[in-house]
Amino acid sequence: MTLLQVRNLSVGFPTPDGVVQAVNDISFSISAGETLAIVGESGSGKTVTNLALMGLLNNNTAQISGTATFQSHDGEIDLLGIERNKLQKYRGRDISMIFQDPMSSLHPYYSIGDQIIEAHQVHNQVEPEVSRQRAIELLGLVGIPDPAAGVDSYPHQFSGGMRQRVMIAMALVNNPSLLIADEPTTALDVTVQAQILGLLKDLQSEFKMAIILITHDLGVVAGAADNVNVMYAGRIVESANVFDLYAKPSMPYTQGLLDSIPRLDQPHTNRLSAIPGQPPSMISLPPGCSFAPRCSRKEEVAGGRCSLELPELTLRSASHSARCFINEGAVAK
């Protein structure tokens, strides 16, 4: 069942120098229980995409267009078309979000219990004591030691990893069908990263929820995702099943990202390859493929077409599409 279907989402931020087109006409869908990774470097539009879906962008400063059909607990809604004050009732209940920096995402003046209870109370007409029990239960599930005592602790008494667990508990308190995790492990050290990702995976099967995992770390993607959208300069440039993506990257940018991961099976004397150049200005995107100025394979396409014409996202196999003129039409077997 398709849980969320995003069509033609664009987000622009008007500035005195012109409109910053942070997200440019992207479409994707996610099924119930699926993990979809959105990968890309800083400024590629990953976070803005999801803030737009959550209605967390300021309407005064962002121009949002497109539709996002979502199966909520009381029927189908359009996340982008619905009035802001109506969206409130789905936020934190059907869709939850956890953020990059757990150190600053919790209110420093309220106990973690108060903050989780508040998230439960706002969507459920129950006694506060019921919410408190629910909070304790969730804190236990995410691995907070002695949750009955921890519920009255304050955020500053926890480490970063523990705070991210608290954030997860808070996000899951209403049993959402979709969890948006915006770089949930970026601010954490590597061993804690693995714990948090493992926890998310365990909870996903327990809560039967879909996860949109925003990350710039392809290592995280390989272990956690079913499908991957690679974003570059506000557009989806490649979208594939995680196995296809790693086996046959069909867009030089994805290839570049994969090549820039250090590998254990190569001699350590090999230099790590980097993608040369900088991402383009989001105010004036190049007319052709946005990646063309940095692309090492654009000579393979005749007539400098890459710099003149924007390639479409075309199918490469049943579950694999890419935005590149190279091998276009040659649908892999």
Binding site: L56, R91, G92, S105, V122
Partner: protein, 332 residues
């Protein structure tokens, strides 16, 4: 928490002792003869001066005088003997020859006036300052925000005495909306209505300047807090905007206001000199100014000490209040 408070109280007492000594030193070594001052401007009878010097203890060594002063605070003090015996009950701050009264009873009359003035103004400026600041932040760039900017500009640039005089001229004299508040301060417990009526314009005058400062401060604090990650979290939880502003944003934004308000209030309790002068209120500020002009040393020492004590105590109260607001500074 209790041990923290008692520890802080101990330190506070030490500070007050230090302050009292410093003040006493400064005034004891001023080039004035307190005994000569007791006898009036045109008095040059050395007999009376010497008699007064002995009566008031100004002939004793400096440290003994200071010791008597401290002792007087706890057990009271008496001056002279026989028919001319003057008793000042504890806490005694000395005896003012100019007023022919114990300093503590003079202060006891002036303090309620200043307290009424400062308390009313505090309430008024907090309501206006916080209210307008929050509105301006919430409707940033809208008409409310622009109006608040104008208010802030006027409030911070108009001096208190001008605001006070203009209010007097228009509200009292031209439009006759209120009776002329000519030194007829009425205590609250005597007639609350008259008390409020007399203090209303002084409150407005004093609150105006402070409200402007607080509006500007609250506005920027609320805007800054609104951009915090935890406010985004609150919104992602699905909380209504009113709850986000009222519970999450304001709690963080207003914490520094507690410190500010506490210290501003303490400052005012030392005497709102200009406002009291303009409205002819017999408060501490006017008392202090009067005693400085007349070299009434016992009153100068007492008002200075009182102002210092209020500031030190208010600091303690603010610190304790802060521990309740912010769990990160909570002390066990």
């Amino acid at each position: 928490m209790l041990s923290y408070i008692s520890r802080r109280l101990g330190v506070t007492l030490l500070i007050l002792l230090g302050v009292s000594f410093t003040v006493y030193v400064i005034f004891a070594f001023l080039p004035f003869d307190p005994a000569a001052l007791t006898c009036g401007k045109n008095c040059n009878d050395p007999g009376i001066i010497e008699a007064n010097r002995r009566r008031l203890g100004y002939d004793l060594p400096f440290l003994t005088q200071y010791w008597h002063f401290i002792k007087g605070l706890f057990v009271g003090s008496s001056y002279g003997m026989g028919a001319a015996l003057i008793n000042c009950p504890a806490p005694s701050l000395g005896y003012s020859f100019r007023e022919h009264a114990c300093v503590s009873s003079i202060i006891g009359e002036a303090l309620p006036v200043t307290l009424s003035l400062a308390l009313g103004a505090l309430v008024l400026w907090l309501i206006v300052g916080v209210g307008l600041g929050v509105l301006a932040a919430r409707y940033k760039g809208k008409i409310v925000d622009s109006a608040s900017t104008v208010f802030v500009l006027i409030g911070t640039s108009l001096p208190t005495f001008l605001t006070g005089l203009m209010l007097l001229v228009f509200v009292v004299i031209k439009w006759r909306l209120l009776p002329f508040p000519a030194g007829n301060y009425t205590p609250f417990f005597e007639d609350p209505y008259e008390w409020a009526q007399i203090l209303f314009l002084p409150w407005v005058t004093l609150a105006f300047a402070y409200a402007a400062l607080y509006t500007r401060f609250v506005r920027s604090a609320v805007i800054e807090t609104s951009n915090e990650d935890y406010i985004r979290t609150a919104r992602a939880k699905g909380l209504p905007e009113g709850t986000i502003l009222g519970k999450h944003t304001l709690r963080s934004a207003l914490a520094p206001i507690v410190t500010m308000a506490g210290l501003d209030f303490a400052g005012l309790l030392g005497g709102a000199i200009l406002t009291e002068s303009v409205f002819n209120l017999p408060g501490l500020g006017r008392l202090a100014i009067g005693s400085v002009i007349e070299y009434d040393l016992p009153i100068i020492v007492a008002t200075t000490l009182l102002a210092a004590a209020i500031v030190v105590l208010m600091n303690l109260i603010v610190d304790i209040a802060y521990a309740f607001i912010d769990p990160r500074v909570r002390i066990t």
